[in-house]
């Protein structure tokens, strides 16, 4: 009996560790961000300056928030038709076939490529290609970064949508076919509406993933600490400014970076929670 109790305690304690880690994270981020918020107030979030010069330091998060949101939204839009098609391919059109296995494996492989490798490929292959097509700024900028980002988030939306699509009961499909519908009519009139919330949840989650991406974006966005004023202009994101400026940062600069980290944490946290909530409702 005694050993049972001890076992239970150990199990419980272990789950405390996770809560502890999460709580500790929030605590440390907030604590580290306080100096920045004390100095700049809530306006930090809306401020456009980023001036690390000693004596007149002034930091604001707006350019990075803008950059993050713009690249992530663009990436989501680009990835939508692609991952939607792939999930239809896997979940309905070629479901269960060998081709679907091959495609499925390759989509999984997309998820396995490290961010830095995407960045390298984007830098050395995609960027020159886009420059040839006429892109300004040596090909750096929001657009290029969004494309790479889109490729990176495709596997997440695809695998989730695919699962949901496969869960649509066969009898509904048969009912639609028996009414004389073509395959695409069945897909868009019956399968997709049934799977709608799951598909949307998948996109929300991949959006959350895009928000936090660092390396590939850093290498392609141009690292200009300004709000991007067009698709092809350069900019910066929250994740990449932290990576870039961290170097010898301390004091107010460090606190500002941590504050940006806190904001990033909150934004991705909320987005992911919404996505997971929708999925939970489905089950």
């Amino acid at each position: 009996m005694n050993s049972d109790k001890i076992t239970k305690v150990i199990l419980l304690f272990s789950s405390f560790i996770i809560l502890f880690v999460a709580g500790g994270m929030v605590f440390s981020l907030v604590k580290g961000a306080i100096p920045a918020f004390k100095t700049f107030g809530a306006g930090f979030v809306f401020s456009n300056t980023w001036n690390p010069t000693q004596g007149s330091e002034n930091y604001g998060a707006l350019p990075f928030i803008a950059g993050t949101v713009i690249t992530s939204v663009t990436a989501l839009l680009i990835s939508l038709p692609l991952s939607f098609s792939a999930s239809l391919f896997l979940g309905e059109y070629y479901r269960g076939t060998r081709m679907a296995k091959v495609l499925g494996t390759m989509v999984d492989l997309l998820a396995g490529i490290p961010s830095i490798v995407y960045g390298l490929w984007g830098f050395y292959v995609l960027r020159p290609f886009l420059v040839e097509l006429g892109l300004p700024n040596q090909g750096f900028g929001v657009f290029t970064a969004s494309i790479i980002l889109a490729i990176m988030i495709i596997p997440y939306a695809t695998s989730l949508s695919n699962e949901i699509i496969m869960m649509v009961p066969n009898e509904l499909k048969e009912a639609a076919y028996s009414l004389g519908a073509t395959k695409s009519e069945v897909v868009f009139n019956v399968i997709v509406p049934s799977a709608r919330s799951g598909i949307i949840a998948g996109y929300i989650l991949s959006f959350g993933r895009a928000l936090g991406e660092t390396m590939a974006v850093t290498m392609l966005i141009g690292n200009a600490n300004v709000i991007p004023d067009g698709f092809f202009s350069t900019g910066n994101t929250m994740a990449s400014v932290i990576a870039n400026q961290f170097g010898e940062a301390d004091g107010l600069k460090l606190s500002s970076l941590i504050a940006i980290g806190l904001l990033l944490f909150l934004i991705t946290g909320v987005i992911n929670a919404v996505g997971k909530f929708i999925i939970k409702k489905l089950n």
Binding site: S14, L82, L110, I116, L205, R209, G212, G269
Partner: protein
């Protein structure tokens, strides 16, 4: 009862069939476009990187910038290799695994044993949220906790901590899922024999679910292997092979980043990436095989 719609419907037959075929073609086309990057990337890495791969590449440390420049000028392959990165990655992966696996598996068991309880649901939700935290933020955390708080400077330990936090939710989830798939009767049979609870876990549940657990761990490792961003804030990098966990250390992704930033060493990025990719993809495939085997 003849409705005129039947006539309309008949004339639409052709257009609907064409539309149906067209949509199918579009789906296939876009799907191919979707997976084309992976083909392109792998080809590029192989094309540019295979020449550099050699025994030396794995065993030696990188040259300094001058040596590399000289080699380039002479049209030779850049000498040296990424041994410091490989050892650094290994060191941090082992340390991260040592931290994440016990906590992750045990927590997964806790969740499995206590479905529906408030604590369990809370833990599960928090674990899911943790999974969505960007890796750079984890790097910040490890910086604050370890670099500032423990080792007073960049260190492999800090790097391991950030990687461990990354792996943790994945292991928790896959452990719980794996255990849920074990038929309850097996656990009940063991308990009915009077086996104490901890023994049921250690001798029955874990061995039965071993391949599932292993899959989760391998996937977690392969996911974390290629991470660069958190390491930039924690392990920092090093030009020598370092096995001291309290000191800065290199890692393969970090080296790639350093090479990328040095015009003389840029040529090394392809082979390093190739090696990294090969390991990550192999781990991926291996864990898929294990998972498929158990189904």
């Amino acid at each position: 009862m003849k409705y005129q719609h039947k006539q309309i419907a008949k004339s639409k037959l052709k257009s609907r069939t064409i539309k149906d075929k067209a949509i199918r073609v579009l789906v296939v086309l876009l799907s191919v476009v979707t997976i084309s990057p992976i083909v392109l990337i792998i080809f590029k890495l192989i094309e540019k990187g295979y020449k550099q791969i050699s025994f030396d590449f794995i065993m030696k440390t990188p040259p300094n910038s001058y040596e590399a420049m000289t080699a380039l000028a002479n049209g030779e392959l850049i000498p040296g290799g990424i041994a410091n990165g490989i050892t650094g990655t290994l060191l941090m992966m082992v340390a991260a695994a040592a931290m994440a696996i016990p906590v992750g598996v045990v927590t997964g068991i806790y969740l499995y044993e206590n479905p529906g309880k408030f604590m369990a649901n809370l833990t599960r939700n928090i674990s899911d949220i943790l999974q969505g935290v960007p890796s750079i933020v984890l790097g910040l955390i490890a910086y604050i906790w370890v670099v500032k708080g423990i080792t007073n400077g960049y260190s492999a330990l800090a790097g391991s901590v950030s990687l461990a936090i990354m792996m943790l939710p994945m292991i928790v989830r896959s452990t719980e899922e794996t255990l849920k798939m074990i038929p309850v009767t097996i656990k009940e049979a063991a308990l009915a024999l009077g086996v104490p609870y901890y023994k049921v876990i250690l001798k029955v549940l874990i061995p039965t679910g071993f391949s599932g657990l292993l899959t989760g761990i391998l996937l977690g490792i392969s996911r974390v292997l290629g991470e660069t961003a958190p390491l930039m804030l924690t392990a920092l990098g090093s030009t020598i092979i370092n096995l001291d966990i309290t000191k800065p250390t290199s890692a393969v992704p970090l080296l790639i980043w350093e090479f990328y930033n040095d015009p003389n060493m840029v040529g090394l990025i392809w082979s390093s990436s190739l090696l990294l990719m090969a390991i990550v993809l192999s781990l991926n495939l291996i864990s898929k095989q294990i998972a498929a085997r158990t189904k």
